[in-house]
Point group: C2
Amino acid sequence: MSHTAPSLPSGTRDFLPHETLNRQYLFGVIRQVFAKFGYQPIETPAMEKLSVLTGKYGEEGDQLIFKILNNGDYLSKVDEALLARRDSKALIPQLAERALRYDLTVPFARYVVMHQNELAFPFKRYQIQPVWRADRPQKGRYREFYQCDVDVVGSNSLLHEAEFIAIYDEVLSTLGLRDFSIRLNHRALLQSLTELAGVPDQFADVCVAIDKLDKIGPDGVARELSERGLRPEAAQQILSLIGLKGSPQAMLDELGPLVAATPSGSRGIAELREVLRLAEYMGIRQAKVEIDLTLARGLSYYTGTIFEVVSHEVQMGSLGGGGRYDNLTGMFGRNGLSGAGISLGAERIYDVLEALGLFGQLPHQGTQVLILHTAEAEGDECRMLSQLRSCGIASERYPEPAKLGKQFGYADKKRIPWCVLYGAEERQEGLLSLKNMQTGEQQRLTPHALLAILGHDGATSPNP
Amino acid sequence: MSHTAPSLPSGTRDFLPHETLNRQYLFGVIRQVFAKFGYQPIETPAMEKLSVLTGKYGEEGDQLIFKILNNGDYLSKVDEALLARRDSKALIPQLAERALRYDLTVPFARYVVMHQNELAFPFKRYQIQPVWRADRPQKGRYREFYQCDVDVVGSNSLLHEAEFIAIYDEVLSTLGLRDFSIRLNHRALLQSLTELAGVPDQFADVCVAIDKLDKIGPDGVARELSERGLRPEAAQQILSLIGLKGSPQAMLDELGPLVAATPSGSRGIAELREVLRLAEYMGIRQAKVEIDLTLARGLSYYTGTIFEVVSHEVQMGSLGGGGRYDNLTGMFGRNGLSGAGISLGAERIYDVLEALGLFGQLPHQGTQVLILHTAEAEGDECRMLSQLRSCGIASERYPEPAKLGKQFGYADKKRIPWCVLYGAEERQEGLLSLKNMQTGEQQRLTPHALLAILGHDGATSPNP
């Protein structure tokens, strides 16, 4: 067999043990918070029918979906004329019936429609799974990455929006973030701005332009709005409104009279007030909750409150976002189910935690104890090992005879905090030697004292 | 947009919330045991380069790999002659640079070679991830399913084999299995049998034939061996040896002198003795440990002790298997790394647990408390919700006004064990009503008493 020099597809990653442990911790915190708020996990397959995904992400999105080549003699049934023309694009549905999921939202909509008779509505689900996109890989952007979504469908209650604020707050503060903002806006308020400016039909144009305020400044937005056909006065009116700053309460008080002339304006103000009022009951730990009228969110399906989260400790862009949508399952023929959801950008949050050194503050998660290998005490060393494990303590015995230096080197490389030696001297004294690998300190002690140091007094019932 | 009637690709599954929770529990137990034995988690991407996977699983395996169609104008660079011939098979590498992983073993070998300078050797890793195979779907066989593998490379110590016995024992007994066997054999013993029968070059033939003993009986195996060219006496000799029964110790005592004439026989006996001796030190909880000379394991890379696990409570085939291999990373040009590993068949173990009703005995894992919605006590209900959650109790408030019957129906459907009502009477008394949804019992109590019933006395520090 010829040897393949091994490498990975561009944009994909292997995870080393310490990275995998960090990711398990991160997903664990997210999962625990989602569950505490009454959301239940579901999973969907990585492969969806291509027809389920096509047309849901726009022309550009369709091109970024990874398609799976049909098995068997996949060329036997393709259209001859298309093949003669080498029409790669038109042939895709004939060559690939399946594709890798591109996000968790469309599979979720499919899932709700397919299983609607088995689900309790309002249906509150979370989903933490990888998605695949054929984007050009770059720093922080991968072709395989995890999404963490939490959604509720079948309820109009704004309690959910308030809980999303609480979820963001609890997840990020539990992870150790101290300075971050949850930004809110409402699509109806944005609609109201376009109505007030006399351009109600240019809602999408206005959203696209103001979304860029951070990047291109007010003059840039004014230019862009005028390029999209708005009169300068209309553009200025929109700019002056979205420039409003202040506490959420103050902003709503000031905006209220200005947008009261439009039904959408009144609705937006009233719903944001309600969301903030309910969020207050939940108690906020660390988050700054802000209203940001420049927040538009690209996705067209949002119809109510929209969300975005940013860290002020590390510049990393949005750590999550979401909003209310009126008719997500409509794409699969099930109308009338209102819902709302948010997403946590786990890969970016990982990078923030790493930049802040927060993973380093976690308790050590791998092997706690290495029992050094001596040829003479095999039985005792194996039984000790078994006893440590029955107390729930992750432990290993170095598997073969080796110089102590090599065995310590293994412990160092694996970041094992404790080494135990049961050598000739120790056996004579009936004690163990314990070495703290961080400080280098060594001590002789009884097996019972060892368990006490490791947080188990031996009386503790063994963990499974 | 036309409505797509949603469905799933054949052989793939959605998981409902209770199924996903059961799977989380199952994987959690497996992960915890692996970690206690000093194994560290890694993850590899779902997509591998097709060239990394091709040629590792045999001709048939190659056909069952899911290939990913190249993005962009994938037809622009294909060989014209092959396309003209509609040569689906030869065109695969030109149309698909990537594929979905088929197992965890080949990606692990690639990983070890690619990251050898970052790893501590002996490298002990576990990996719990899905794999994809284009097998014909049937009951219990899926196209996307999880594998749970634990492997060590860079050590010849038989301590690992002994620990694999302990790992199987601990995982399955923790999950509640009471009657299962861990079957051992040794490839060198099988080699010895073929040498004694005078057909040392027909090792593979002999393995294939005796692997079928359960299905076709001794006569069938004799017939198959003779079809493969063995003389009847040779076939009989092999059959009489593999027919040996008894305790592991008795079998080794009886076999020892019979195979002592071949070096492979002596090695097999000595290593099995050593594995059993070390396993003894570890302490076995529930497993029957057996030597089964008919166990051959199909995969060609095994070179030492081999394993298989079966349940006697539910007929489900093998729940896991594995063994020692001398040169797994050789396929990627890194020779001289001996290793050993086992796999747990999570999907089958799931089916066994379900058949035995063991999931039903788990503590309820979803929402614990539903606070019923009354219009008048919104603030109190929301604050109660927040307090329950800060004690780590998964809770919800029914999100909108609805008849109590509907709200109880929601709790039933979601299997929420407790409902709390803070209605007009309760408010007057300063108490809550608590309904046990399983028994139907109701009681009035203080918020403090509620926390006590739910296992939190209020003094407990809130879980994150």
